[in-house]
């Protein structure tokens, strides 16, 4: 595992500063700051309702923060919808996968960014060819190119969602429990993919419940509880139990900051 201290020097790729968002008087996210550097995987942990998904949706453009600011490469960014997020090369793999079930893999992969030929008409053949190419890399067993994604297995659907996120030169990747619906083999595939993307210099936010996955994949971990940030730790300086203590009791170990 790379040394997190070297990764955290320099200008962060993303900085979420003092973000707050409330829904009907309940503070879902309460003055939370988090940063992410190139080539780094930062885990976001916490109970259901701790506010990690809400926090990250401010970055992906699904929600707009009530206060606080977002900096991309040190510059203030305005992200008020998913289109803006894509503009900053932020890609998100949602827990629900956000696929249109009635469309095929290629249509989903290129949804919102279709390839068009002369006259502005969709170039379906080119999109299918590109999809075959990237799926050949991510999931060589994938064959079902001409059926709606509703006919695919959980793992196949997941690989379509991942292909969509990595195809468009993402710089910042948000993964919301990417392995929740997967079998062991496919989970391993995702883990390898994360390592590969890390090497390419992407910054990855990983929302994850599985402590072991966090210990294995993440450089740093941010723990949230009741909308607040309990603390941030370098994963190789703490034990499973330290992190569990933060999640369950909100207890901050000495190494945390």
């Amino acid at each position: 595992m790379s040394n997190p201290h070297s990764a955290t020097s320099g200008t962060p790729l993303v900085e979420l500063r003092d973000i707050s968002i409330a829904f009907g008087g309940i503070k879902a996210v309460d003055h939370v700051s988090v940063d992410l550097h190139p080539g780094e995987v930062v885990g976001l942990l916490g109970h259901n309702g701790a506010g990690k998904s809400t926090l990250i949706k401010c970055l992906s453009g699904a929600y707009k923060a009530d206060s606080g600011e977002i900096l991309i490469n040190g510059e203030k960014a305005e992200i008020s919808n998913p289109r803006d997020a894509r503009h900053y090369n932020i890609e998100t793999i949602y827990q629900t996968l956000a696929l249109a079930d009635n469309l095929d893999a290629a249509s989903n992969l290129f949804l919102g960014r279709e390839l068009v030929g002369p006259g502005g008409f969709l170039d379906d053949a080119a999109m299918e060819a590109e999809t075959r190419k990237i799926m050949g890399r991510l999931n060589p067993n994938f064959r079902k190119f001409n059926v709606p994604v509703s006919a695919l297995s959980g793992g196949q659907r997941q690989s379509v969602a991942i292909a969509r996120a990595v195809y468009f030169n993402a710089k910042i990747l948000i993964m919301d429990e990417p392995t929740a619906a997967l079998g062991p083999h496919e989970t391993q595939m995702v883990a390898e993919l994360i390592q590969e993307l890390k090497k390419q210099g992407l910054g990855i936010f990983l929302i994850e419940h599985d402590i072991h996955a966090v210990m294995e994949l993440c450089d740093r971990a941010v723990v949230m509880k009741n909308g607040q940030r309990v603390g941030t730790v370098n994963v190789n300086e703490v034990t499973d139990d330290d992190i569990l203590g933060m999640i369950i009791m909100g207890k901050k170990p000495p190494q945390a900051y």
Binding site: S60, A62, N81, P82, R83, R86, T92, Y94, T96, L97, A98, L99, A100, D101, N102, L103, S107, L111, G112, R113, E114, V116, G120, F121, L122, D124, A125, A126, E128, A129
Partner: protein, 437 residues
């Protein structure tokens, strides 16, 4: 480039299944065409056996059927998009009535005074006004749905009442007629058709287009190394579609003008009518050509443009569409605006056909339009629907209606039968989808 083995070589499939798979025929469409043919033959035989006169499968009736289907068929194309995106539009009949009334006022009360009666610009301006008014009303409905969050059912239920009432207020319930004589051609009739030569030209263009499309799609698939349909299947399908077009041309050209019109025409053109009479073909009716053009344009839009892709995406998963960066609200406005545009177009055809704008024009059309889309396989759950399905659905319903008129069933029975067919069609569709899963 690897050629994956194609379905036609699959062992273990019966000859019929193999044929269907190789030709990639949509089995649901096949079912609908079968149902349509059964209705046609059924009415013809019933007429022949019970009334001693099979009037259904005659050039005259089929030609009339094509004209009667046009208005509902044009609107059904737009309704497909509305229903795919999980909305509904109950207002189209009233908007049609309102738009027709505006056009009636423009071409009968306003324009003749400034341009002079029969001025060639009258019909052009009138049509433009109709299409603009329809589009604006549709866009307004869409805005209320998308940006004000009012359910489409409520917005358009309100629209159903409001626009019918507004149509009444516009002319105080008067019938406005007669419409401009050029405008009237858009509704069909002996003069509102393109004649034998014109029909053959249309036919030639259509056949050329079919050949070109099939060839270029085959070329594109080969260029990318995708599996190809077997050649025999390709040839069969091409021959079938071309045959259909040529057959339709023969039918409309076999329907001659009535004697009275021929005599008038001959007198106006200094022709002498031979004793056995002059055979002047109707050819394709203009409203039919308008509907076909709309259907082709909409099919291309749904299959080959971003707009169409987004319509399906929104229907399949609205949240995913939004997260993919699609401006779903603006799309909703555009979809309703398109529905409004097609309603305006349909108002042109409908009011031209009866050469007047009446207060009841388009009444209950919303139900026929929705039924056409649904019978044609558009799913009310969203995400699924085809333009050709809606056209076939409109044709099925109109066939039932005119068939029952021909064999002498009264209006009450017509409504009962159309209602039963609607429910039955959706039930069959549900069964089909269950089996497909």
């Amino acid at each position: 480039m690897t050629q994956t083995p194609h379905a036609s070589t699959d062992p273990g499939l019966g000859p019929v299944a193999r044929f269907l798979k190789a030709t990639e025929i949509d089995t649901r469409m096949l079912g609908m065409v079968g149902a349509l043919l059964a209705i046609w033959v059924g009415f013809h035989l019933y007429g022949a056996l019970v009334n001693g006169n099979g009037a259904f499968l005659t050039p005259r009736n089929l030609w009339n059927l094509s004209v009667q289907t046009a208005s509902v068929g044009i609107m059904a194309c737009g309704m497909v998009l509305i229903i795919i995106t999980r909305h509904i539009d109950l207002s189209v009949g009233s908007v049609l009535g309102f738009t027709a009334m505006i056009m009636g006022i423009v071409q009968v009360w306003i324009l003749p005074q400034s341009l002079g009666l029969g001025h060639p610009l009258i019909w052009v301006v009138t049509c433009l006004v109709g299409m603009v008014v329809g589009t604006v009303i549709g866009a307004f409905h869409g805005w209320l749905v998308a940006y004000r969050g009012i359910p489409a059912f409520i917005v358009t239920l309100g629209g159903l009442l409001i626009w019918r009432g507004a149509a009444y207020l516009l002319a105080g319930g008067e019938t406005i007629s007669p419409v401009d004589s050029t405008f009237a051609l858009l509704g069909g009739g002996p003069l509102g058709a393109v004649g034998a030569m014109g029909s053959w030209i249309v036919c030639a263009i259509a056949v050329a287009a079919i050949l070109w499309m099939n060839l270029s799609s085959r070329k594109a698939r080969r260029a990318h190394g995708f599996p190809l349909r077997p050649l025999w299947a390709e040839v069969t399908m091409t021959a079938l579609t071309c045959g259909l077009v040529i057959g339709a041309t023969l039918v409309v050209n076999a329907y001659p003008w009535p004697k009275g019109i021929v005599t008038q025409y001959a007198a106006a053109n200094n022709l002498t009518v031979p004793p056995e009479g002059l055979f002047i073909s109707h050819g394709f009716a203009i409203p039919l050509l308008i509907m076909v053009a709309v259907a082709i344009g909409m099919t291309v839009m749904m299959g080959r443009t971003r707009f169409g892709r987004y319509v399906y995406a929104i229907g399949g998963n609205p949240d995913a569409a939004e997260l993919s960066g699609i401006n779903t609200r603006m799309m909703t406005v555009k979809i309703f605006a398109l529905m409004g545009f097609l309603t305006g177009l349909s108002a042109i055809v409908a009011s031209a056909r009866q050469t007047s704008a009446t207060i009841s024009l388009g009444q209950l059309d919303e139900l026929y339009v929705i039924a056409a889309a649904v019978i044609g396989g558009t799913s009310l759950a969203g995400g699924v629907g085809k333009i050709y399905g809606a056209i076939l659905g409109a044709l099925v319903m109109q066939s039932l209606k005119s068939g029952m008129v021909l064999i002498g069933f009264d209006a009450a029975i017509q409504n009962i039968v159309v209602g039963i067919v609607l429910v039955l069609a959706v039930y069959v569709d549900i069964l089909y989808r269950k089996r497909a899963k």
